[in-house]
Symmetry: C3
Subunit: 276 residues, 3 copies
């Protein structure tokens, strides 16, 4: 039983943070249900005219550029500044950064103008942010970019360096997830490769990470690591419940189900991670 992981999960269930999401319309329903499954509450709002008020009554802000448009990027900047000024955790999910100049520019502008608490993406996206440019194959990670366990130490060094340079928590997800606040770095081994056969597990994770950060503000790196373990563990539990004939749509449902049944004890017992 990992007491730290248990405490992080219990925190979400006890504090029930309201999470303001400015997120894409592809996976928004799953994001809302995943937050509810964790014990948090969602509020989706993306109009310039209300995002500051909405974020002010929330406990954290999740900014996801998956279906970015010129209207919502303004809302993201406004909400991000307000949430940061209020001391709320603010997370950036730079979906598809590198796939178009507009996405890369928007992600870079957000990073420059908003004091984010954390950024969560796949290797391509994070590399894009690191370089200020890059190439991304749609919104999925380049196979070539997947973190291999072999070079985990070197990847951890890169992530730690980037986190230190940006002054925030950086989480890079892939076969192994890495998360660092610039001083320490955790590698998370939970998860299933089949999760990439569903749309939205990354988006759900970003929302959950925001909720974990909001509920556990004194231990941010552990909170971020716990959300990575929780999402991956949910993928493992859900996979164990698959029946013959089930496919990616049922897997999607079972992952959210697994989150909704996850207690602090479940996470404490199932989390697989280590400090690098």
């Amino acid at each position: 039983m990992d007491e730290t992981m248990k405490t992080m999960m219990d925190g979400v269930r006890e504090r029930k943070p309201l999470i303001h999401c400015i997120t894409n319309y592809v996976t928004v329903n799953d994001v809302a249900n995943a937050l509810l499954a964790s014990g948090a509450s969602p509020v989706m709002s993306d109009d310039e005219g209300e995002v500051e008020e909405i974020t002010a009554i929330s406990a954290g802000l999740d900014v996801n550029i998956g279906t970015l448009n010129s209207r919502t990027v303004i809302s993201m900047l406004k909400a991000g500044k307000k949430a940061a000024a209020m001391g709320h955790p603010v997370l950036l999910d730079p979906v598809g950064a590198g796939a178009s100049r507009m996405r890369t520019d928007a992600a870079m502008k957000l990073l420059r103008e908003v004091r984010f608490t954390a950024v969560r993406g796949n290797v391509s996206e994070i590399k894009t942010l690191s370089a200020g440019s890059g190439t991304t194959r749609g919104v999925d990670a380049d196979a070539a970019d997947a973190v291999k366990q072999d070079d985990l130490a070197s990847a951890a060094g890169s992530v730690k360096g980037l986190a230190a340079r940006l002054g925030l928590i950086v989480a890079v997800t892939g076969a192994v997830d890495l998360v660092s606040d610039g001083e320490r770095c955790f590698a998370v081994f939970n998860g299933r490769p089949e999760m990439s056969g569903i749309t939205g597990t990354g988006c759900q994770l970003s929302a959950l990470m925001t909720a974990f950060l909001a509920a556990n503000p004194e231990r941010k790196l552990e909170a971020a690591a716990a959300s990575l373990c929780a999402m991956g563990l949910a993928g493992e539990i859900a996979w164990g419940r698959m029946q013959p004939g089930d496919g990616n749509s049922t897997y999607r449902n079972r992952i959210i189900d697994a989150i909704s049944n996850m207690t602090g004890e479940t996470l404490g017992a199932g989390a697989r991670y280590r400090e690098m």
Copy 2:
């Protein structure tokens, strides 16, 4: 067997009303599938340039401000006026009214300018409309606002008074639902507390209520009450089918499944309500 409830449900299945929804992008897919499950048909359209034509070929209009923006509020006003002028039932779901000035103002403006048939919300939202202002915790009902069975008579009085003042049907949903046309008031006892652990049951209910009103125009209050019973009963039936390891995502699917299997007889046998 409650013949009234049976008749209302049969009406939807026989008349298959086409319901125009201007609704939020979080739960829109569930709203469409819930309408189809009931025997009605959905058409989603929110552009100013076509909403009047679309609502003209529809049998009812469901206006939901869950992800309001400055573009769609204009469409809501145009469609609402057109639908009301054609004698179609028009329903307002003031999601999150009270959570931001923009939402409260939009809801109040809609109420002033459109002759709604019904409004359906949680206690916080309805109180906001009643007062012209208020506070809402995101889009979920304040726990403190839940209608307790103890003070049901007094709550029924308030709902009846508001319905009379606004000149439309008011439905307030919570642990017990109340619905009034200003003269009579029904309390509906169907439902499960676990339904609030899923996003979108309120949005689905609003769409269903619009369909029930469209299919049963001569008995509007009974139609509205029947939709409340139907949604609550679906939540009960679905809960009865939950297996170990199932969670909120599966529950979401099973609720819509239960609607799709619900006959007039099922509703007539399972509806639990009484006139106050």
Copy 3:
């Protein structure tokens, strides 16, 4: 075992085409999961500022006007022209064409200005495109419009004529599906009537057809026919797995599940079609 159908399906699984979708927000999540289920990858992007870049890194473009608005129609034109210029397959799903002047005009403008590879709709929608006007009952096919097996030969003649006139592949879906490139015409008999009780099977099919076209560019008509067989067969397989108490929401999940389990062999064995 139909080797052609097997080859088409294997092509999608092997080439894993990235499909750019500018599609409606009602069914977009199902579209993304259906593409992933088939072995393809989705990228959703609808902002004028990035659609050309996004479509340039994709292998095919799916344009769906289900929740058209004045902002996205510009993006559809830009992306469509770019994709066609690059030789990518471009498909139009004219959802609800005929239901409003705006939709009809948008569909006609798209057809005039973009060199589409294929158009896929129900009989009402395709008749609207053929006539330049028409009537549509919401986004569902008029019952009166359903292709009856009796007059299949005459319907096939019409579809072939339209395909020849427009210079692209025309697919008309209903009780029997017809698809023609103007020279040959296939009738597809796979499918279940219950599929119309779920929102989004048409949208999923359009995205899949785009993926099949992208993966099998040398045999476009067979590719389009294979996607019709695959979607219909998935509906049949999914129906066979329904349990008492299941309804349209579970059916939705099981259809996508069936796609995700479908191999070239499954499709080769289950495809039911013939050249007319």
